[in-house]
Amino acid sequence: MIVTEKQQLKMLSSAEMQLLHEGSCSLLSRVGVKVTHAGIAALLLASGAQCKGDRIMLPQDMVKNALAQSARIIQFEAPDPAYSFTVNGPENQVKFGTGGQALYVVQRTSNGWVRKSAGTDDLKQIIVLCNQLKQVDFITRPVECDLPDEQKDVAKAAVFRRYCSKPINLANLVKLARLAEVLEIIGNRAHLSFIISLVSSPLVMDSSAGDKFVAIVQKDIPVAISSCPQGGSTAPFSEVGELLQLNAELLFGFVLANVVRPGAKVLYRGIPITANLYSDASPRWCQPDSIRRVALAAQLCRFYNLPCCGTAGVSDQAVPSAQGISEKVLSWVYEAACGGQYINSALGMLEQVMSVSYYQYVIDDIALGIVKEKFSKAQSLAISQLALSAALEVLGCFGIEPDEKMEAELSARIRHIENGLEPYNETYIEDQLAVIEKAVNKSSSTVFMKAARKGLREGYLYKGARLDASLDLAAVAERLESSEGLGT
C-alpha cells in the first residue's frame, strides 16, 4: 500500500520533533542507560561513551553518527520470491504482517468464544492461513511452540521453513545458542528477520537481549529494535515524556547496532502505549491515546528517515467484536498515515497481545482490504474522514448498520487521536526529563503512576462508550472453511 505525500499526516511539526530529538539526546548524555553487561559496556566505552556506575552515557555525536550510518534500505526476501519487498526509510510504502507471541487462541464454538492455550499446531495453522490471506505481506511469529525453551527456536524455525511462503520474522530468539541451527533450518537468511526488546523501560538494557541483538546484527540479519513503554507505569504518563524516553531507548539501540556493525540493518519499533490507570494499570493498546502515541513514534522515526517497524491493530477486546474492529481500523489508518512501513501485529490479535483468533485473522484481512482501498481511491479525503468512512464501511461489511451514536463515538475517538493535549516546548520537556530521571533513580514504576494524577484529571486517557453490536460472521466462517490445509 502507498500513502501519498498528501495523505501523510504530520501531527507534530519538524520543530517539535527536533525538540524531542534534543531532549532524548540530553537524556542519553545525562541519565544514560543502565548496562550491566560488561562486554557491551566496554564496547560502547571504547567507542566514545562515558559511564557513571553502571549507567552508560552517550554523547550526542555518537547518536548523530549512528543515525548517519544506519541502513536506510532493508530487503525482506520471501521463500516465494513474489512476496519479497523492500523497506526504504524515506519512502511511503506500507506493508502489514502478523505478530504476537499470544498465549491463547480464541475459538468459536456452539457455546460462544472459548480461549485455549496456543501451541505448535496453532503456529502451523496460522502460517498456513496467513499464506493465503491477501493482506498479509509478511509473517511475524504469532504464537510460540509449546515446548521447553531449549527446543522452541528450532521447532519454530522448522514450522516456518516448511509452511511459510512470505518474509519470515521469527520475532524473538529464545536461546542464543540455537541461532546457528535456526539459520541452517531457514536456509536462506535473506528470508529472515527478528525483533529484539533491547531496553526495558525506563532505560535499562536487558543483558540477555543485548547478547542476542549483537549476534544478530553481526550476522547482518534485519532486526527491529523494540521498546514498549507504558505511559503511567514504565514511562511518564505525559505523551511528551513518554516519547522522549522511548526515543532515547531506541536511539541507544541504533548506537549499539552501528558500533557493532556500521550500516546495521535495524528498524525503529516504538510502541509507546498507555497504562490503564483508571483501574488496573493493564496496557491500553488500541485506545485513542495509545493509537496517537504509537503513530507519533512512527512520525518520529520517519523524521530520521529510518526504516519504520510499526505496530497497529492490537485490539484490547478479548473476542472478535464491533468495538475491536473499529479500534483496529483507526489504529491501522493512523499508523500508516503517520509513517509506519513494516507494520507488525496488524492481523489476528486480541486482548492486548494475549490472544489470537483464526476468525480475527480473516476479519482483519477483509477490513484491512477496505482500509487499503480507501487510501488508494479516496485520496482527497482528510485522514480523519478516511478513518471514519473506513470504519463505517468495515462495520457494514459485518452486518452492522452504524447509527448516529456509533458515528459520534468514532468521531470522538478520532478527535482524541488527532488533537494533542500537551505543549511541546523546552520548559515542558525539561519537566518531563526530570520525572524520568527521578523514576530511574528510584527504579520503581510507581513514580510514574503517582506523577500521572494531573494528566488523568486532564483527560489524557480517552473515556468513551463501547461500540456494541453483534457481528455477522457467516462470510468469515465460509472463508475459513474453504481455506486450504486448515484442520480447524
Binding site: 490503564n276 488496573d280 494499570a281 510507581t446 484529571r457
Partner: protein, 227 residues
C-alpha cells in the same frame, strides 16, 4: 495544633495522597503545604504514640479503598495514598525502633529469575506497604537461591512470586518446590502474573493465586484473620 487536629490532618493528607511539601496531592493544589512526612514529623515531636498514628493510617486507607471501589479514585490516587503510608511506616519503624510496628506481618515479594516484568509486582508491593505489611521487595530476575536466603534472613510470614512469561512460570514452580523442601510450615505462598492461574497454583503447591492487587489484598486479609 493539638494532637487530635494533627492526627486528623495526617489522615487527610494520606487520603489526598499528599506525600510531602513537594508533592501536588490529589487535586494538584497541595504543593508547598505540609504533607504526610512533614505532619508525621510534627506528630512524633508532639509525642503522639505510634499506635495512634498507625490507626489513623488504617482509617485513611480504608477510606481510600472505598473511594477506589466507588470509582471516585483511580489507581494512581490509591497508590499515592499507599505510598504515603509506606514511607511514613518506614520512618516510624526506623526512628522509634519499634520493629514491625503494624504486626500485620512480613511479606517478601520478587519477580522470579528470567523475568523482568515488575509493573504488577510493584503495585502489589506498594499497596501492601500501604495496608501496613512490612514488605521486602527483591526486585526482578531474582534467582531461587537469593529468595531462599532472604526467607531465612528476613523470616517473612508471606512470600509473593510474580511471573509474566510462560517460560518463567517453570521457575516459579522451582522456587515453590525449594521452599516446600526446606519446610517453612507457617509460610504462606502467593503467586500472580498474567499466565498464572488458580489451577497452576494448585499444581505447584502455592497457597493462593491472585488475579490482581485487590484480590491479593482480600486473600491476604483473610489469611491474616485466620492465623
Amino acid at each position: 495544633m493539638n494532637k487530635d487536629e494533627l492526627l486528623e490532618k495526617l489522615e487527610h493528607s494520606v487520603v489526598m495522597g499528599h506525600l510531602d511539601a513537594d508533592d501536588e496531592g490529589y487535586d494538584g493544589s497541595m504543593e508547598g503545604t505540609p504533607g504526610t512526612l512533614e505532619l508525621l514529623e510534627q506528630a512524633l515531636e508532639a509525642g503522639i504514640e505510634p499506635q495512634k498514628l498507625i490507626e489513623s493510617f488504617r482509617v485513611a486507607m480504608e477510606k481510600v479503598g472505598n473511594l477506589f471501589a466507588s470509582e471516585e479514585y483511580n489507581l494512581a490516587d490509591m497508590l499515592a495514598s499507599a505510598e504515603c503510608v509506606g514511607e511514613a511506616m518506614e520512618i516510624i519503624e526506623s526512628k522509634l525502633q519499634v520493629g514491625n510496628s503494624s504486626n500485620k506481618g512480613k511479606f517478601l515479594i520478587a519477580t522470579v529469575e528470567g523475568d523482568l516484568h515488575d509493573i504488577g509486582k510493584n503495585i502489589v508491593a506498594t499497596m501492601l506497604k500501604g495496608a501496613g505489611y512490612q514488605v521486602k521487595d527483591l526486585g526482578i530476575n531474582v534467582p531461587a537461591q537469593a529468595i531462599m536466603q532472604e526467607i531465612r534472613e528476613f523470616k517473612p510470614d508471606f512470600v509473593g512470586l510474580s511471573a509474566l512469561l510462560t517460560s518463567t512460570m517453570i521457575e516459579m514452580e522451582h522456587v515453590v518446590r525449594l521452599i516446600k523442601e526446606d519446610s517453612f510450615p507457617d509460610l504462606k505462598l502467593f503467586i500472580g502474573g498474567a499466565p498464572t492461574s488458580q489451577a497452576f497454583a494448585d499444581k505447584i503447591g502455592a497457597d493462593h493465586y491472585c488475579r490482581d492487587v485487590m484480590d491479593a489484598m482480600n486473600k491476604l486479609e483473610q489469611v491474616s484473620n485466620v492465623s
